[in-house]
Amino acid sequence: MKIFKKHTFWLVLIIALASFLRLWRLDKNPPSANWDESSIGWNAYSILKTGRDDFGQFLPLSFRSNDDYKTPLYFYLDVPFVKVLGLNLWSVRLPSALSGIASVYLTFVLVNLLFAKQKIALLSALFLAISPWSIHFSRGALEANLTIFFNLVATIFFIKGLKNPRYFVLSAVVFGLSLFNYLIPRYFLPFYIGGLFILYRKELVNKKVAISIFVVIFLIFAIPIVKNLLTPSGQIRSLGVSIFNNPSKGDRLSFYRDISAQKIQEDLSSPHPPKLPEIIHNRRYYALLLVLRGYLSHFDFNYLFLPGGILVYQTPEFGLMYLSEFPLIVAGLYFLIKKKEAGWKLVLLWLLIAPLVAAPTTSTPHASRSILMLPMLQVVTAYGASHLYTVLRKQKLGIVLVGTFILVFALNFSFYVHQYFVHYPREFSFYWQYGYEDLTKYLNENRKGYRKFIFLPKITRLTDHAHIFLLFYNKYDPATYLASGGTKLCDFGLTGRFSFDKYEFKTEVCDFKKNDKLDIFRGFEPDSLVIANPDDYGGGLLGFPAPVKTFYLYDSSTPVFKVYRSDDIMEYVQTHPEFVPKPV
């Protein structure tokens, strides 16, 4: 059969596999819209209807969203999807899922461009198609996933530009656009584009005009970003995750400024060679160690191949790559360095710069901030697989070994698919803030009987952004919402209680008065429902009124919300003067 020799046949098969893994039950797993997805979805809906975000900003370049000031591109990309499919999980997640599928194809294109070997290009695409890391990020509305897509497109154009400089324009535009999607490219691209210029300096020598145009276009995109980065609200996100600003207890090195100062002082108080204390205890040296620690952590075996690390990003029993990929990637690195085929430097450049951005942040290693290790990890794996096969093919029993390995890999993959589709939603629904869909439905059914629905602080356990889920699951009309004042968050010193429709939100900052802990329970309207976390505000206390309804996580056994009648609580508070409501 001639058809099997054709790479297009295999490529179509791989893309079909990638699509299946990224689209099948996309609205059911992950099991619910998390707060980012709700915010992206409803804001896209609101942009579509009113041109404004939930704070009333007209076509913002930075969405305040859940107070994390998100980059705008995903929101705007989502608008047509919401227009066509309506506001639901499909329309929210599709941009990410489709970009994940496209990345599989683009990986094939790029690798073929670099190594001119279709076998390696196909294998790279295959490994990306089945990559747990890629699948995970493609199935949620995660802006991080789009960075892979943009970087692949821009790089392909860049390399094509080496032959035909017109492509540089496209490359610069896509690089520029990606600055508006996720914070990572803002820090990654200066290193990466600089690296590209150095890597291809010989080819670029006589393309001064093309380079100038490339730089100018990129700068046009970059200027608003740089301007934004100079404002406090532009810095808030980056500073909030910087390890230099957030030393953590129990992490000695993160207090490096104190250690350095202490040691220099100790040295200066006794005889010492001139300058030595300042040199060897220089705080910059410690800062370097700190960054390097974060950087190296992205190459830890445990991080890449085993469960652990940040829970939000993992599948039970799996790491970000398959254990079976370990020997392949080791071989890949070895052969890549040994063979020095054209393109090997670009692969390593991309792969080695990717974790640099995540290195100086808290909670390293970080699967989202180092997302650009994809798809180069898979390319190296494919490179190793291909060359190992070439070596083993000639050995006695080599084919048996290869066959066995493929079988083991297939089992490994099937195990993953099982874990992801069966056990993942059960065990990790908490991290997708599961429960609001049921809750919204319940409240709608009980609209008639109650005057208000009162949400107590920390209701999502993460923070107080219950409103965004209600907006999303109710498909709440943006015009009505904005007319009632839009989102008013208390956390950053804004005052004024926040409510819309029948929903009223209590926050710790606004509703807890210093000397009056009970204040939060006063002024509850009668005939209302109060929604709280299961153990908060007396929920675990003996004799506390029984909830009228309890909601559970996807596993149907872990409670997430308890709903009380406000009259029950008021009565309890009045008859129990010793009661102090405290969030757990």
Partner: protein, 546 residues
Amino acid sequence: MRLLKPNLFLVLIIFLAAFLRLYKLGDNPPSLYWDEVSLGWNAYSILKTGNDEFGRHLPVDAFTAFGDYKPPLYIYMVVPSVAIFGLSEFAVRFPSALFGTLTVILAYLIVFKLYKKKSLAQAVALLVAISPWHIQVSRAAYEANLGLFFTILGVWFFLESVDRFRGAIVLSFLSFLASAYTFNSNRIVAPILIAFLFVIYFKKIVLRWFLLALAITVIFSLPLLKHLKTPEGQLRFQEVSIFNNLETVKMSNIRKSVDANSWFANIIHNRRVSFSLDFLSHYFSHFEGKFLFISGDVNPRLSIQDVGSLYLVELPFLLSGFYFLIKNKEKGSWVVFLLLAVSPIPAGIAKETPHALRALLLVIPLEMIVGYGIYNLWQGISKKTEAYKKVWIFTLGALFIFSVILYQENYWKHYPKEFSSEWQYGYKELVGYVNSVEDKYDLIRISEGYGRPYIYFLFYTKDDPAKFYSQVDRFRDDQGFYHVKGFGKYQFGQFNWENPPEGKRVLDITYAPNSHLELKPIKTIYLLDGKTLFNIYSSENVPKQK
């Protein structure tokens, strides 16, 4: 020695190694931590009476000590040391420092045997000599360090038996046996190493000698095996093992039930699958950048925290070393890979990882690979121009010298101050003070919470061990550990100040966090960083209760 004669550079390395390990050995680390004191005093007890702390005559399987059943060999090594130097910090640590220095020589010998390249062997010996990991463990009484020596000695004798003197295999086995009598991890490492060495050198092994060696080893390991079969012998293993995590079992049962307990669920959700992944995670944690290059073991007794297990500058050479090991495919590299692969196994089945003691063997293959990297890079560079060569040597030398200075400066000037409490600093001063005033008191009560005070009182008072056996009052807790409640005038535990025993003059020594704020101590003992460690109160000063 014929071998050392034309090898001035090696002699210099050995002197450097010895200096780095022996200089002011009794003073830094600033004090003996509890295990060291226990080893020391048990050796002292053996020397004086032939019995251990429990009055057991010359134990060969294990010393009960705190109930942790310490392997015996290090203690027996301390006996002559105490006989010569007296019962002191130096004497307890001397075997570790001495055999640590000898390990540097062994590293040279073994690399030379594997690769037949003198400069490569010298490079590795030098790297081990200045290794922060190896210096750290050589400067305290760590059984693991003696175990490392015996392991490397065993490997060297094995290689010797393969290419020169067949009978050396008996010595090899005896060395491995000694390692098993020295440190728990070696009980796992030794048989695995022997098995793989047997496979690698199968063709060159004379079966007769091999069987003889095996027979001798089996006979001599009987007391140890017998001990390991007792509940006490298994206690330590149970305590640290990852395989008794109930959470894992629970999770696997939940997952099985979600999959309706089908046949495939019983395979894929078998707890052994989870445990295997757990093992891998602990095993590979020893190759993490943080452990290797940034700050080493999290336990400040095992790393000064300012430098990794290896120097940061060794990172590029470790990577290139790996590359060349694979590329050059030399026969000797099998042994390097073997050591590398086996070293983290015992630590891998234990809870706290990465662990600088249980995986100590790793330091040898890692430094071998770094050395191999430097050596092979140099092969390429030595073909280039003189100027290029000079720049390379200068840069490399400067980076290493800077690293060593940075490490040593921190080790000597800041480490003891910052981490003196980790070494249970303060007992020497405390016992000294108590001895000077104890005639005035009928009862001396020492509050627990800072290591095990009783062993320090034994160590620093140097009383007759026989007297201790006859007076000691102790009990065993449900974890299997022994606690000494008192002996002679001393009592250990938690005490209530409000009700001192009637009519007795009492000296109360209180660990700072439990101090009586309303009372004025008659004496305070401080840590090296200036924090209060003990407050000492006298019953004369207690206000009379109404």
